[in-house]
Symmetry: D2
Subunit: 400 residues, 4 copies
């Protein structure tokens, strides 16, 4: 249970930290300006492409991906890097081609894709020539209960025909999202977790309609491709578009969730660190009733409690990473659930207090806090609401 960064991780951490402070953070106001100038666009703004080129030139690229196709880091090696990208959630992950949902989709393709599938979709994703979306959640059912999925995938000769409605397909508003990974039911009569399959669908396939964007606390996340509602109306793809075998959909989704969740948690800790850094600056300089906020006992308590939580939860994230690396994602399920529950809610609470420290400015676009808050809040629902995980974790704990 050794969490210390090894030499490679330590060196990459230094590099990413420098890149963050020298390139990414200064690019944030540039992004704001470019967004203001192009309000109707859903694809990346120029500043993203510039950062990507710079990152790639430094070798800071596809760091999230273990194995031969990516940087080949372990989860433990990747953890401090992902955390640093959480300081600038809008820019750092995409700059390093380490942004959800592409990360999860690339993992799936790397693990489960055929050579043809990898060539068609993984290579351009690794190369950042296209983006992708993951189409799982549906408006009409509690998607954390996979048996309820309403999208149907039926065989018709050598084709698969997909019908259904998905939403919260992150990134899919962007025309660059060429690939849609779609989960649906191939066999409603199969056992509970063998009913689902996953299909790779090109965005331009007839019958695919991107209906509308969804917003999170008023943010449409258009710099990232937003969140789309999509209708699949008798969308026809060849059977070779199936990812894995028929009935593997649930298992593949689960495989995707482990790394996805830990990456979210790693980044969320970085977000908390950014917020604490901002809080420190604010508290040292803002004076009210004759004293800087940093001398108010209440502010000190907030900050102390935040520090304690972040330290404890980071260790739990590192342990989870270490378990995933050593005994596998499946054996680390309890820990993955634990951090999935604990980290976003802690970070949400920390952001709430730091916003309070900034006054109304903290709620506005002048600070990154409110948008970070929306992101942390959304994490408590993404990949299943906290309550589902708490219930599962509690049930396991209460087993004799």
């Amino acid at each position: 249970m050794d969490f210390a960064p090894d030499r490679r991780s330590a060196q990459l951490t230094d590099q990413v930290r420098t890149f963050l402070h020298e390139r990414v953070l200064p690019a944030e106001p540039v992004l704001d300006a470019q967004l203001a100038a192009t309000p109707d666009q859903w694809s990346f703004r120029p500043v993203v492409h510039e950062l990507r080129a710079a990152a790639r030139a430094e070798g800071l690229w596809n760091l999230f991906l273990p194995g031969e196709h990516g940087a080949g880091l372990t989860n433990l090696q990747y953890a401090p890097l992902a955390e640093l990208t959480g300081w600038s959630p809008r820019l750092a992950p995409v700059a390093l081609n380490c942004a959800a949902p592409d990360t999860g989709n690339m993992e799936l393709l790397a693990h489960f894709g055929t050579p043809e599938q990898r060539e068609r979709w993984l290579d351009p994703l690794l190369d950042a020539r296209i983006r992708s979306a993951f189409c799982m959640t549906e408006p009409d059912v509690a998607s954390s209960d996979a048996t309820q999925i309403g999208t149907r995938i039926r065989r018709d000769g050598d084709d698969l025909v997909i019908s259904g409605r998905k939403w919260w397909s992150t990134g899919a508003m962007s025309p660059d999202a060429a690939l849609l990974v779609v989960m649906g039911k191939t066999d409603p009569d199969a056992p509970r977790h063998r009913q689902q399959s996953m299909v790779l669908v090109g965005r331009d396939t007839p019958g695919v309609t991107v209906v509308r964007p969804l917003s999170v606390f008023g943010y449409d996340d258009r710099d990232h491709g937003g969140h789309a509602e999509i209708v699949f109306d008798d969308v026809r793809v060849p059977a070779s578009a199936l990812l894995g075998g028929e009935g593997d959909g649930f298992a593949i989704a689960q495989a995707r969730l482990g790394p996805g969740r830990i990456h979210h948690c790693m980044r969320a800790l970085g977000t908390a660190e950014r917020a604490l850094a901002l809080a420190g600056e604010r508290a040292r300089t803002r004076v009210a009733f004759g004293r800087p906020l940093a001398e108010q006992g209440v502010v000190r308590e907030w900050v102390a409690n935040a520090r304690i939580e972040v330290e404890a939860l980071r260790l739990l994230v590192l342990k989870t990473a270490w378990l995933m690396d050593t005994v596998g994602n499946r054996q680390a399920m309890t820990e993955i659930q634990a951090i999935k529950i604990a980290v976003p809610r802690a970070v949400q609470a920390i952001l709430d207090r730091v916003m309070q420290l900034f006054g109304a400015a903290g709620l506005s676009g002048d600070q990154p806090l409110a948008e970070m808050f929306a992101g942390a809040r959304a994490l408590r629902l993404a990949d299943g609401p906290d309550e589902v995980h708490l219930s599962a974790l509690g049930r396991a704990e209460l087993r004799p």
Copy 2:
């Protein structure tokens, strides 16, 4: 300490409830459509004008204003009406001409205005021909500490010349906001609470520049006139534009805050009730893992705790209203502080849990919850952050 509604209040409550359910709630999607069609506009959309006409025709108009100029209700009579408007924060208050910041400004004009000031500004406000903004908060100082205000108002012959920068001037993005009520320092050497004065400034006065809109989370509140940053650059008004006497600014601001705070709290309780009504509907119909959410113990606990909090806090708000009516706003200061602290944070927490019940839909524009959350969150900062009030209340409580 009798909180029961009298006959007039009970009858108005019925009327407002009917108006809410028959006119206002059905108008919400209409507003959404009109907003989508006119993204660049900051003034009211047609649906607001229609609702206003309907409300006025029914006598549901200026209910907030005690005394001869308004409906003449007591705070206790107004409380259930204001609560009902909180069910639809974007539409109901404006429909009844009971929306901040106009309400507070009308109160000031009614209390402190000269006949000329009332004729010029109060009458059109009561008549909803113009809107207004309150310019108090400044970007560079902790505005809850009134001694720090940086805007200067200097006398020059018969004129007053105003220089400074304000922000979070709610409503001021709208061209209809013809009146800006501006707080500044006339005498930095006077005693602490006699340094400030308040001036009535026409929006079109030379030197007034509306710099930019501010957003709360991702909402720019453009249906309401948004929140503006405004620069006053040697803005010259006649001395008759002074509201009250020189040095009265702090006292006038305080007078404005009492009713403003209790109105916010009343409405926030209505927001919580709306959220609980939505929660009930959702919980009864949404099925996960084989049972409606309403049968989950965790959901029941949430809802039970929310009900308890709302009931207890409503009584505290009513008591505060009763105190304001019977012994005056000044004597009710402790209770006003108490509800100002307790209600928004309770409502924020309730909204957070109800959003969780709705899954990602709860964060989006498909439900009113996230925007309501942003509003409740902002209330914890508006008119002074919770911490300032907690500190004052605690100090008072600890006095021997």
Copy 3:
């Protein structure tokens, strides 16, 4: 919904307050000394008898009991009096003959007793010549689920024969507790809430064995008769000992719970007020790191939040009392549940923070706080754990 005290209540409140400060609080150290001198005794110490004589002489007697047998106050009239007794939970309620469980038992006898039962048991209780206990909770089952009660009451000719094991029979360690009110099942095959009956059992009836005392945290409450485990081994009483009719046990227990719960809540608020008074004294006089605790922001926030909670919850308790007085206990069930949940947990949290203010002294017998904490903590379980009430309240709230 008028909560203002009427003239009689206001006058009694003044009287009880004076009695509390002049007689009861000074008697606390006397009780401590008498307890230390007689460690093996479970009945009242002399100081209690002296206080009782004084209270009775002043007419402060049986104030809890509505109707002809007691002082005839409404719940709303009694509320401020009960609150004041909560300042000194060990002495004030017994001094005024207003202490549980005698209060609840007297209510039952007054409502449901036959003239003979009233003569035998109610008169001496009203007169404080005997005490009583209520034997409902059982060690082997979740007693909040009345269908699980294991004690059996079978008819044998003109007798009833009781067998079972009870515990947490408060007061029953005292030899003065001459009356045991016992709940048991007369007909396990009757409908759910008609299976139970209630019987009046003399403590000296053969077959009654008081097995052992139970403690709450480290307190055995021997000044009050403690909490007993009692075995009923074929205890034979005449059929005339039945309280109400056969099968009425559940309904009678429910009737007892309403007033019992609100009395507990009223007193608990008084306990919180005492704690806040102690907190104030401590905070003003204790100096750490150069300042009195009263000047620490964190302490101010604690005290402010406590004040807000107490004010809001007191209003909810008063509303509950008013409902019980006007529409009846049954119609007030939701409010009774609400305060039963909300008040003890709030008071527990307040006591926890006040103890923190006192340092280790707060945990010791030098301050009343830790024993008060144990009492508030126990209230979260007495008459059903919080969770049972939250679930019921949530279910009701979620009904369409």
Copy 4:
């Protein structure tokens, strides 16, 4: 940052676990019986001596003490052992001669004692022939502020003369506590942290009066020697009784606090684990309203949240241990503060919920929970209240 137990630690952990389950837990009811039989005794009961003999025979002795005098374990090696002793706070630590305050006093003697001091006091303590107490806290001042200490130590020729009043001297009610380690001021005019000195005082020295025992939530802890108030009235000891040099008192106290705090936290985690084990048993077997408690969603959430907190905090404790082992106690100060704050309050909250699961039994002596709660609650004050540590930690965090 490797937290995995090495071979020695793993083997000792197995041994201690077996000892705990086979010897210690079964001895708890024996202790209860012996306590009931000898209510007036403050020294160890026979069962303790038997356990000690057994533990010593197995080599489970003085495990807490690093270096040559004890078992020589690192903090990281000791952590899992100390945690296991927290399962039975009354018996396991004393059985292994690893109980506070002897542990801290032995550490001081090992680090700072002269050979003569070590021979006189350390050897019999290591051998468990005597016990000891630490006399630092005073009734009249906030002892977390060392400058306020009122006890005076003045030189008189070759002697030191001690005058003052101490309380919360844990263990000192026992006649076996032969050694009192007393902190006092030798030079009130020296710099802030050089005013204090520490002296070794035999319990039987003239002028030492043990005034009275103090209780914690009604527990007098008489099985452990309780908590004493002690008066030192011109107590005369030779100058050779000084521990370290004059003015070293504050530094020595600080040196004692690091290990003391982490030991408390390790044990507290074990207490939480015991509570969770009990909770599981209870939840699986207790049925209410037709289902075992383990199937209630609310119970599952409690248990899940408890598991998450325990896992995260254990890692923080292990990191702290690792830091103390590798960079030293001083460098680990932030982490020591963090766990000192976070662990006891988390454990207190967990115990509160587990007690709720047990109903009234959870508050009584039938379960260890309430006494464990009292212990965890006391830890939030021992060695300085949470608030002092939060303030220090927050101040450090807010430094630029």
